[in-house]
Symmetry: C2
Subunit: 485 residues, 2 copies
């Protein structure tokens, strides 16, 4: 697996073009209208709209690649696999539109046959379609369905642009989602399903999350005309996991970057300070620039690691102290073929045990090889963050054999991405809200500070935490800047 | 009020000695055994023990003064007042011992007469001693007492060095303190008392705190022989607010710094990076040094703003993303005399309304002038963080008049310290634990990473959040280093 160099070469950037710390320490500052900090989808989208409006823009990226939490890996067999955000689905209008505009193609996530359920040390299978029902006892299934319905109906009352204005906001934001589940669910198989919802959507245990934040996140899984639902978050068919992108989702970021003009993106250009001057800002770091305004397109916890002069208002700083990244990894086992398909399995498994508790068929659309992807999330990821890659691999394959049989051991390659250990992510997929975050600090998420504007999927009213939300936030921040000029 | 320059002159450091960024950018690194990052009480204590053991030490302090969250202000009337940590009390053995060793004197916090209670827009007074009872209805008082007893008895079962090992740890750490109060307290006056406990001890609303963290903090309010209790946290007599220090608590830090040799402390020496080398660490910033080991004596949320190469383990980084500072300010109104004393009032008030909900008599021991100190905490502080000092002053004096009568308007000076707005604090008094912090990340609080050792009051088993805890953490970290060498 080669990540950095492959991506760089796909962007036609030679290593001699890379920004070098010493080289730039004393060079004169470039004067721009709006630099953008971060070449993830939010930053690149903001840059696109600002450039189209005639602004001079440079995207300053700490990594040697574009995409942020969206990342392709190149496999030994010549294919690719996705280590970060991977799926798109209905109501994700902005990312679907961008995919189409950039000339990329989507295809349906493989979803033919049965899903696997591993529960109480027993393996079962069930039809994967909308009518499929996990093999759990009926009272538990009814209870889980009732809880889901309750979540949806509460979520439907939330204003996704200002969840803190809800009449019950203080109450809901004062309790953990886990505690609400404790007081609502009596049957352990129902609780298992809801805990899996928490870890697979947020990469956080239910006890880490504010109940208001969870309701707000459910509400955000839609668009201006369709309110979000639990099903649209968790399902494959007609939901957030419905489709994939030919060639891998990082192509969205790469093609978007190419369309901006590659000279407008500076790599290895970590920003370390943003200093107000008499007429704008000096952006300090490996590639110093000066500008009237600046877009910070980073997750809140990482944005706080830039030094701001003068310091940011307490509301913004204390927000960033309180909004952590989830704990997430992706493990992808590569096979000669997607062998599970011949067993009438989708490759999707749900489990109450092991390091991997949710899997997907990550094979390419032509099934030229097989790929089983497993999410490692929350407590499981934290348990394995410091362990060797071999230890993780052994634990993952042990689970895959439980779910898909002994053939799961016959891998040709094993790819592991632990986002918790990435310097410029330190977790994933999204910075989440613990109790009291939204009611006390919510407005500071996207409130500009002078000429400093904040983007990132965390600031989006729809599809917070997804590629679609990142793109929406980039569009919003560009509009915000253009309206004030 | 002059803070920085006065303190600097008291430390006999001229401004030409101050470290200047440009001056040090290219100077050769100093080679040391153990640099200490942060000249608060924890860092200074660690430096003291390391120097006494023969190590070469420099304390690198970003501010132009020692003390961190301990700070004297010099008043126009020639006196001083305390803007940060202020009180000491029984079982705070380490800080009491240090005060005595440094030749400083303590005196009893003024506590003669009656306290004021402002509740439901009504002012009442009640005897301030141990037998005093706030004028609330008896059922509420009984309920509050029962809750306090329950908290104490649960706290008594906690191992303060490892709260996450308690049999109920997962359950307690999965709920907010506010939610536990919701399910335990039915009477609103009782809830008022417990909410005031939360804001005045943690500078956080009860909904921000993990219930396990609260129990652990209560347990920590003692020493190796006396388990902590709610009363020892909140009371004046025989408790954490029992005594004050002649000349102000910052004298502890100043005299400790003098005892180390002032040449061993570098001011304006913000550390920006800690980089592992083949045989130790390079400490980058305004005063670059190299060393085998390093002590980071900072609160977790600020320690994360240093860049570490290689990056810190996920367990440590994600801890720092999840442990925010409380929101706190102190407002001190200065008067010709402590006029409330002639009304048989202690100067202590508790309130359910206004910007200030807990006050103390902050006059000096000789009562040569009067000083009323009010804490501004949690939601109240956040509401006023961005407002003008005049607006805060007006709101504070309005409260003081409610509590102590119209004479409270006759101030000679008004001193305000908003810790949320301090660049090198960004809140206070302590970084607290939201739900799941201790059970998922607790061990990372003081676990060294290679030769990087962590101090700070947040890491102390006793008197976490207090000066005593800071000193304990400095002693522990020095011992940790000396034992490995």
């Amino acid at each position: 697996m080669k990540i950095g160099s492959e991506i760089l070469s796909s962007l036609k950037i030679s290593s001699s073009d890379r920004v070098n710390k010493a080289e730039f320490c004393c060079s004169p500052r470039t004067i721009l209208s709006v630099p953008v900090v971060g070449a993830g989808l939010s930053g690149l989208t903001a840059a696109r709209d600002l450039i189209n409006a005639g602004k001079s823009v440079v995207v300053l990226e700490a990594r040697d690649r574009v995409g942020g939490r969206v990342l392709n890996a190149h496999l030994a067999n010549g294919g690719i696999t996705e280590l970060g955000a991977e799926f798109v689905g209905p109501t994700q209008d902005r990312v679907l539109n961008m995919i189409s505009t950039l000339g990329l193609k989507t295809y349906d996530t493989y979803n033919v046959g049965n899903d696997v359920l591993w529960h109480n040390n027993t393996r079962g299978t069930y039809f994967a379609g909308a009518s499929g029902i996990p093999p759990l006892d009926v009272p538990s299934l009814l209870q889980a369905a009732a809880v889901e319905e309750a979540l949806d109906s509460m979520a439907a009352t939330i204003d996704v642009s200002a969840p803190w204005t809800h009449p019950s906001a203080l109450d809901w934001d004062g309790m953990t989602f886990g505690y609400w589940l404790n007081s609502t669910i009596s049957l352990s198989p129902a609780r298992f399903l809801l805990d899996l919802f928490s870890t697979s959507v947020f990469s956080a245990e239910s006890e880490e999350l504010s109940f208001l934040y969870v309701l707000s996140y459910i509400a955000s899984a839609g668009n201006e005309t369709l309110v979000g639902t639990v099903e649209r978050l968790i399902n494959t068919q007609d939901a957030a996991q419905a489709q994939r992108v030919e060639g891998g989702t990082q192509l969205i970021a790469i093609k978007l970057a190419e369309s901006l003009g590659l000279e407008n993106i500076k790599f290895n250009a970590q920003v370390r300070s943003i200093t107000k001057t008499s007429d704008g800002y000096d952006i300090g770091g490996n590639y110093p620039v000066s500008a009237k305004q600046v877009v910070v397109a980073m997750s809140p916890p990482l944005a706080s690691r830039i030094e701001y002069y003068p310091i940011l208002p307490a509301s913004r700083d204390q927000l960033t102290q309180r909004m952590p990244m989830g704990s997430i990894g992706k493990a992808i086992a590569i096979y000669e073929t997607p062998f599970w398909r011949s067993q009438n399995l989708t490759g999707q498994a749900l489990s109450d045990d092991g390091i991997v508790r949710a899997t997907f068929d990550n094979s390419p659309s032509d099934a030229s090889f097989g790929a089983l992807m497993g999410f490692i999330e929350a407590d499981e990821m934290r348990q394995f963050d410091a362990q060797s890659e071999d230890a993780v691999k052994a634990a993952v394959l042990q689970d895959y054999v439980k779910y898909f049989g002994p053939e799961a051991n016959n891998i040709t390659e094993f790819v592991l991405q632990r986002w918790d250990n990435e310097q410029f992510s330190r977790g994933g997929p999204v910075a989440y809200g613990p109790p009291t975050l939204l009611t006390r600090f919510g407005p500071a998420l996207k409130q500009p500070v002078g000429g400093i504007h904040f983007a990132g999927t965390e600031t989006a009213p729809y599809w917070t935490g997804y590629m679609d939300g990142a793109i929406r936030s980039g569009e919003r921040v560009a509009q915000e800047i253009l309206e004030t000029n």
